[in-house]
Structures are given as structure tokens and as C-alpha cells.
């Protein structure tokens, strides 16, 4: 893990071990949350990637292609917004965006179109690993550098994104530490909202959260660890958590977190419906819904904030450095940070 601080603003990043990415995190724009405030408290690493700046502009203009798996998925929109805004801010880069709607052949076709339009670099935000080799092959034959926002790894190109396992580990660790403080001497039940259909990368979030919780409670019995399977929606998370809680004695300390803010929200509501007054919740992702719950729901210890806007910035830096002929680090993942009711930029009342 690398941690660097520059100019009072630092972002924590980890080298990834193949478990980075994002598929179905319903994290949405930070309405009501000051972006500047976020940046003021975020921690930034500078070992390989500086913050985007005009220093990247070695040429007069950089035409960068960007294919994204969704034009509506909240997290993807934030990443896209981060990328486009960063490009605008440095002035010498323009982003040509295409959307493939999770259709691999369309993604490959989009890349071909972008190449025909004369792009000099390509940012690839995919979740379908099966088509990444074809995209890598296209890039190779067009002699264009690429960078993947994972999702899915792009062979031969660097990856940026979240450290799913690492971030979830921190999420679980923080919540368990809070539980130990608030309910000393008890052995909690931990319920993790998983999303198996999203694949191994996202399952890393479930495993990471449980590992973090076990770090604090090393002797946690296996019957106290409950995997709640979801499809990434709040509704299913609510329904399945309601059922799973039947295995948890009433009055128990219950720790809840899920693969995204909505899943976590559904789980929290289920615990509330079944009257678990000693339930602690740590949201994961940090979309406005998760952050609003952090402010308004006393069961929330906070939210693990994945800083999606910064992913786009990372991608921009990674692709422009390559277009400038520089080598870049293979894998960089944003670890994120815990935000709580007392975090200044949340402005909780």
C-alpha cells in the first residue's frame, strides 16, 4: 500500500491485486455534497499519478476516446463527470464519449469508430471481461495507448478504480471498531450484502468487509457471519435481510454493510423493521443516499466513500502520461475514506 501526502491534500491509494473494479454500485452524484469539500479532506497519492494539471499538456491537443458501459448508471456517471471535468480543467484534452450499454461487440465497434475519428488514447470503463482482449487487440493494432477503469482489466494497459477488497476491508474494520466501543463484551452478528451475479471482483467487497470485521473480532463464530445475497438492489437486500435475520436472536448486536449504498440501506431498513435496536450500519460507496443516511439515521456509523470523481481524474492522468510517452503504474486503486456524521463537508445538521 502506498500513502503519500501532497500540499495538505492526500488521497490514499493501494496497489491492486486483481480485485479492483466496479459493476453495479448504485452510487450517484454528490448532490448537496461539496466537491471542493471532498477534495479538501481527501487523501491523494502522488507516486505515479499527479492530480490532473496543465503540466500534462506536452502537446497542444489530446483527443481521447472513452467508452463506458452505461450512460445512466450512477457511479459510471460520476466517473464520467470526473473524467470530462478534469479534461476541461486542463484545457488541452477533449473526451469523445461512447456508450455500449453492457454490449461487448458494441464496445469493440465503438472503439473502432473512435479510432477512425482520430483519437490518440482510449479510456475503457467496462465490466465485461470477455471483450477486453478484443479491445486490447484493437488498441494494439491502432497503436493507441489505453487505460481501464475497472470493472474489468484491460490486458496490456494500466487499471484505475477502487480497491474493492481493500476499501471494503476498511469499511468492515471501522464498523467493527465502533461496535467494540459501543457494545463492549458482546459478540456481534455480521451481515454482509453480497452481489454474486456481479462477479468475483465485486464479491471482493463482501470478503473484504468480513475480513475487516474479523480483524476486530478474530473469534467470530461462523454462525455469526451471514452472507445476504442480493442483486444489487435495495428491494432484494431488504427482503433477503428480513429473512436472514431470522437466524439472529433478537437483541443481538448486528453489523450491516453491503456492496453499495442502496443494498446497505435496504439491509438497514430490514434490521429496523425487525426491531434490532443494536444494529450498526456502515454504508459503502458514498452516494447522496448513503451520505444522507449517515446524517439522519443514528444506526449509521458512517459511509465508506469511494471518491468516484477521482477515478476519472486518475484515468485522465494515466492516459495522458502514456500519450506523452511515459510509463505508468500498472494498477492503482482508490481506497477511499470513512465519512461520518461529524465530517465537515457533509454538513449534517
Amino acid at each position: 500500500m502506498v500513502r503519500h501526502i501532497r500540499g495538505g491534500r492526500a488521497r490514499l491509494r493501494v496497489g491492486l491485486v486483481g480485485v479492483a473494479g466496479l459493476v453495479a454500485v448504485s452510487v450517484v452524484g454528490s448532490a448537496g455534497v461539496s466537491s471542493a469539500g471532498v477534495r479538501a479532506t481527501a487523501q491523494r497519492a502522488v507516486a505515479q499519478f499527479p492530480a490532473p494539471s496543465k503540466a500534462l499538456c506536452k502537446k497542444s491537443h489530446y483527443k481521447i476516446g472513452y467508452d463506458v458501459f452505461s450512460g445512466s448508471q450512477p457511479f459510471a456517471n460520476l466517473v464520467t463527470a470526473g473524467l470530462v471535468k478534469a479534461a476541461q480543467s486542463i484545457g488541452c484534452a477533449s473526451i469523445v464519449k461512447t456508450i455500449d450499454n453492457l454490449n461487448g461487440p458494441v464496445a469493440v465497434g465503438n472503439l473502432k469508430t473512435l479510432v477512425n475519428e482520430g483519437i490518440g488514447g482510449f479510456v475503457d470503463f467496462q465490466v465485461l471481461a470477455a471483450y477486453q482482449p478484443a479491445i486490447a487487440s484493437e488498441l494494439k493494432s491502432a497503436k493507441i495507448p489505453g487505460v481501464a477503469i475497472v470493472g474489468a482489466n484491460l490486458p496490456g494497459s494500466p487499471d484505475v478504480g477502487a480497491s474493492n477488497y481493500g476499501a471494503a476491508y476498511q469499511d468492515g474494520l471501522y464498523m467493527a471498531q465502533q461496535a467494540k466501543k459501543r457494545f463492549p463484551g458482546t459478540v456481534p452478528y455480521v451481515l454482509g450484502g453480497a452481489e454474486p451475479s456481479a462477479g468475483a471482483i465485486i464479491m471482493g467487497r463482501y470478503y473484504g468487509a468480513v475480513a475487516g470485521e474479523k480483524k476486530v473480532y478474530p473469534n467470530l463464530p461462523s454462525s455469526h457471519v451471514i452472507e445476504v445475497q442480493t442483486d444489487g438492489t435495495e428491494t432484494t437486500a431488504y427482503n433477503n435481510t428480513l429473512s436472514a435475520l431470522s437466524a439472529v436472536p433478537s437483541g443481538s448486536v448486528v453489523l450491516l454493510t453491503g456492496v453499495n449504498d442502496e443494498v446497505t440501506g435496504g439491509m438497514a431498513k430490514a434490521a429496523q423493521t425487525r426491531n434490532y435496536s443494536h444494529a450498526l450500519v456502515n454504508s459503502f460507496g458514498g452516494d447522496p443516499y448513503g451520505l444522507s443516511q449517515t446524517c439522519n439515521n443514528s444506526h449509521y456509523v458512517g459511509a465508506w466513500y469511494l471518491e468516484p470523481r477521482l477515478w476519472g481524474e486518475d484515468a485522465l492522468v494515466a492516459i495522458m502520461e502514456q500519450m506523452n510517452g511515459q510509463k505508468v503504474q500498472k494498477q492503482v486503486g482508490v481506497l477511499g475514506e470513512e465519512v461520518t456524521h461529524s465530517t465537515a463537508w457533509l454538513h449534517c445538521k
Partner: protein, 364 residues
């Protein structure tokens, strides 16, 4: 060859042998009259055989479903010590109630010879609409009423397009599914909005005694559906329309109006489901209908309703909904793979359709 009982006709290879006594009258040499009689007997015997076979297959279908329910229930009971507890069973009932509300009305729609697959998107659009109104300062109850009216309106649109423009209901509702899901995402900007209010949360997560409120909604809708289907002229007309539209119209049934009414009821039920889920979660979001996209139709078909119309029972749907509830609850309790749940559901669905096919064949 036809052989009958006392006072009987014995016909061999088209030739009547002996004398015939029918209704006390004595006939002479049997010729064309006996031949007609023989045909009548053949037909009535065939009818009786078909009726017996149909009853048998329908009985097997109904009891088979109940058998599946018992097997699934016992398996879960044996597998998890937490399954057969009052709280857990009430939880399972609560979870499945939302699905059940829609399945009851969808059963009527399917019996009427139509199908509505837009239910998930109507739920989502209703939820988002309520969320938007509440965040704009509307009273949550007023917003709920408007949301329900909107849902009924979507049902009316489905009905009018299907009935009066003679578009297949699968196509119509596939279209409106996309339209309203898209609208839900667009209007909400894909965000989840919190909806507060203790009173409103009672709809989804409140309870009377220890019975969750959504269960009462389901029971209420089911009773209305069952009474309507079995004991009213409207119910008989729905069956008649689904079984043979032309015959129903010739018999004076206002089949078109009836079908539009069914779609309106379906929209209303989807809207109600959306309201309950929004209340349960304390939030409105465009994704809330996703888990219900296909499970409603699955429950209806599993319950024995025929996609060709004219057949289906509320009891069948109730058992099917119970099976889905037990499966969902049991799989969550046992932490089984959701993929396995899908596999089990798919298998049951295929079996249900095959059984329907058998019933149809038995009628021929």
C-alpha cells in the same frame, strides 16, 4: 365397436346386431336410426372420458403444486432451525406479499387471455413519482393517491392499446415497461430519495399484532380476487373471455371493456405494490421493481393459470406465491446461492407449463 349396458346396443363394425330398446320404445330392424344413436353414444362416452381425464390432470396439477409446496416447506424446516418459527414465517409472508398482490391481479389478466409484464416498471415509476412529489413538498398521502392514479392510468393505457388497437398485450406491456422504466430513471436522475414519515412507513413495515401490514394487503386483495373470480358474473365473464373471446362477445359479454378493466386493475395493483415497497424501504428509487419483473408472471403460471387464457385459480396462485416465499426465505436463511434459487424456479416453471400442456391435450 360400441358396447352398452342393459337394453343395449351392440354395434360391430358399423352393423347393429339384435334389437334396440331405448326409452321403453321398441325399434324394429336397426338402420340409420341406430347409427345416429351409436354416434351419440360414442360422443357422450368420449366426452365422459375427456372430462375424467381433464379432472384427473387438473387434480394432479393442483395437488402437485400443493405437494411441491409441502416438499419445499419440509425441506426448509429440516434444513434450518430458524425456518419454522412464528417470526420467520411472518417475515416470509411479509416479503412475498408484494409479489402476491400483483400475482392475484395478474392471474385475472391471464385468465382473461392477456398478460401484463410492465408491473416492475409501473412499481418503479409510481415510487419515483411519489418521491418527486414528496421532495417537492407534497403531503405524502396525497402523493400516494396521485401515484396510485398514475399507476391505474398506465394500466388504462395498456388496456386501450391492447384492446382497441388490437396489439398483442405482451408487445404493448413490453413497450410500456420500457417507457415507464426509462421515465423512472430519467425523472429520478437515477437517485434514491428518502421518504420519511412514521405514518407512511406503517404501510410497508408496520404490523398489526405481530402480523406485518403488507400481509393484510395481500390477504385483502386475494379475497377480493377469489370472490370476483368464483362468485360473480364479472369473474365468469373473465373466464369466458379468455376461453373463447368470440363466443363470449356473442353471448353478450362486454369483453373489451372487461379486458381494459383488468389492465387498469393490474396497474393499480402494481402501483400499490410500489407504494408498499417505497414505504418498506423508506425511499423511492427506479430500481425497486427490478426483482418483480418476472416473478409475478412466474407465480401466475406456476399457480396453474394458462397463458392461453380461460384457466387459472386464485388458490393455485396462492400456493405458488407461498412456494416462492418459502424458497426466497429458505434460500436467504441457508445462504444458498441465488443462482440455485433461479434454477429451482425455472424448473418449477417448466413443469407448470408442461402440466398445462397435458391438460390441454387431455381436452382433445
Amino acid at each position: 365397436m360400441l358396447r352398452c349396458g342393459p337394453g343395449r346396443v351392440v354395434v360391430t363394425d358399423g352393423e347393429a346386431v339384435g334389437q334396440v330398446r331405448v326409452g321403453g320404445s321398441r325399434a324394429g330392424e336397426v338402420s340409420s336410426e341406430a347409427f345416429d344413436l351409436r354416434q351419440e353414444h360414442e360422443a357422450s362416452e368420449r366426452e365422459r372420458r375427456l372430462a375424467r381425464r381433464r379432472r384427473l390432470v387438473e387434480q394432479l396439477q393442483g395437488e402437485g403444486l400443493l405437494f411441491v409446496f409441502v416438499v419445499v416447506f419440509v425441506l426448509m424446516w429440516v434444513s434450518s432451525p430458524y425456518f419454522f418459527t412464528k417470526n420467520n414465517l411472518l417475515t416470509a409472508a411479509s416479503v412475498v406479499s408484494v409479489l402476491g398482490i400483483m400475482a392475484v391481479v395478474e392471474t385475472l389478466v391471464v385468465i382473461g387471455g392477456e398478460i401484463d409484464i410492465s408491473v416492475g416498471s409501473v412499481m418503479a415509476a409510481t415510487s419515483v413519482l411519489i418521491g418527486l412529489m414528496v421532495t417537492s413538498g407534497w403531503n405524502v398521502w396525497l402523493a400516494t393517491v396521485v401515484g396510485l392514479l398514475f399507476a391505474a392510468g398506465v394500466g388504462a393505457v395498456n388496456g386501450v392499446i391492447t384492446v382497441y388497437f388490437k396489439i398483442n398485450s405482451l408487445v404493448t406491456t413490453l413497450g410500456t415497461y420500457s417507457i415507464f422504466l426509462g421515465l423512472a430513471y430519467a425523472l429520478s436522475n437515477t437517485t434514491t430519495v428518502s421518504i420519511g414519515g412514521e405514518g407512511f412507513s406503517v404501510l410497508g413495515s408496520g404490523s398489526v399484532g405481530s402480523v406485518p401490514v403488507p400481509v393484510f394487503f395481500f390477504i385483502g386483495v386475494w379475497i377480493v380476487g377469489a370472490v370476483l373470480a368464483r362468485h360473480t358474473a364479472v369473474g365468469r365473464h373473465v373466464y369466458a373471455t379468455g376461453d373463447n373471446y368470440d363466443a363470449a362477445v356473442r353471448s353478450g359479454v362486454q369483453a373489451d371493456l372487461l379486458r381494459v378493466g383488468l389492465f387498469v386493475a393490474m396497474g393499480l395493483a402494481s402501483g400499490l405494490a410500489g407504494v408498499i415497497v417505497t414505504s418498506e424501504l423508506g425511499s423511492a428509487a427506479p430500481q425497486i421493481g427490478d426483482p418483480y419483473l418476472l416473478s409475478v408472471v412466474t407465480a401466475v403460471i406456476l399457480g396453474g393459470a394458462s397463458l392461453r387464457g380461460g384457466r387459472g385459480t386464485m388458490v393455485g396462485t396462492l400456493v405458488a406465491v407461498a412456494i416462492l416465499g418459502v424458497l426466497q426465505n429458505g434460500f436467504a436463511l441457508l445462504q444458498f446461492s441465488t443462482y440455485l434459487e433461479d434454477t429451482v424456479l425455472g424448473t418449477l416453471l417448466i413443469l407448470a407449463v408442461l402440466t398445462d400442456r397435458l391438460v390441454r391435450r387431455a381436452e382433445r
